[in-house]
Symmetry: C2
Subunit: 218 residues, 2 copies
Amino acid sequence: MRDIFTAELTALGEDLAAMSRLVETAVASAGTALLTADLALAESVIADDHTIDAMERDLDERCVLLIAQQQPVARDLRVIVSGLRMSASLERMGDLARHVAELARLRYPATALPDELVTTIRSMHEAAVRVSQQVTTVIETRDLELAAAIEEDDDLLDDLHASTFVTTATGRLTAQQAVDITLLARFYERFGDHAVSIARRVVYLVTGDFADDRGEML
Amino acid sequence: MRDIFTAELTALGEDLAAMSRLVETAVASAGTALLTADLALAESVIADDHTIDAMERDLDERCVLLIAQQQPVARDLRVIVSGLRMSASLERMGDLARHVAELARLRYPATALPDELVTTIRSMHEAAVRVSQQVTTVIETRDLELAAAIEEDDDLLDDLHASTFVTTATGRLTAQQAVDITLLARFYERFGDHAVSIARRVVYLVTGDFADDRGEML
């Protein structure tokens, strides 16, 4: 009985990692589609998002069944409840990657971003791709140092997000450019927040400490 | 034993409703602060958000304890897991109200919105206030008709959100105005999404059916 339960928990972790790998692909492709005005790539991100959504629903069902059938206590229960939270975060990260792809599709064939914004978005894209890879590894290995690295890249995303408010306040941008950079920076900033939330849940599972994550918008 | 458990479930529902009432106050005050450039009101929303965050953490703890101690199955378990999800949605709704207040504070003493945008934001504000009140009532009464009304107001929020893309595309706005309307419309649109998610969970608890909520951004 206990062996089956342990196997189920292991499968849960593997599925979270698989979901995270799909998010990696989604965010990498979405940013590339945006920066290179690649419509087909944008469409593929949008079309593939339902797979991530379906994985979340499947994981949820299984978590609830696992609680119902095995009636876990203490640590096992904590793992399962954390799994529910992490799958919700991964699903949102997939949505945010899809939003980036939707904006790329909306603006196609233009990229519609002036040089100074391309630099910012490219930096956010690179940080988001890094963060998504780290999330997969943290889920797989529970490496606490890597969890800390996610916080650093999230700080970078927050700084870049804040810098876009400065850029839009200069008045050098058109309204359309201002809208695009505002949305994109927000999507990437939220992407980082969800990654941090996952990292903190992994730290919590390992150490029992959960950092408060009250993120500021501005 | 069963009586204690039933009492705990009832308390859970009451606390979700209490949390929802705090969200009502937050979103009503945040929109008023924005539309009337009321700095003190904006500050109060920002300061009070930690109470909503604390309620979420407390509810989470109790849900996990309840599962651990009572080992509920079937319907009871469904109620508790839905409670976890609803508290997460309410916490996000509180964050979004805080974001509106933060923007009001950032632009103070100006409201910084031209007339055509004030009309849109006022409509979004009113729909969000309605939605937040309906969410409280739906949690308290499990009224399925009211749950449907939340979907209607969410559709209105989606339409208003979409209309801001048209407005910003006209080129009549300054970049700053475009940024403000883009952020605000996004906050209100997400607020509606979370309300719908709560409404659907209540419907699910009553009927067993859960509607898919794959919201589109654009």
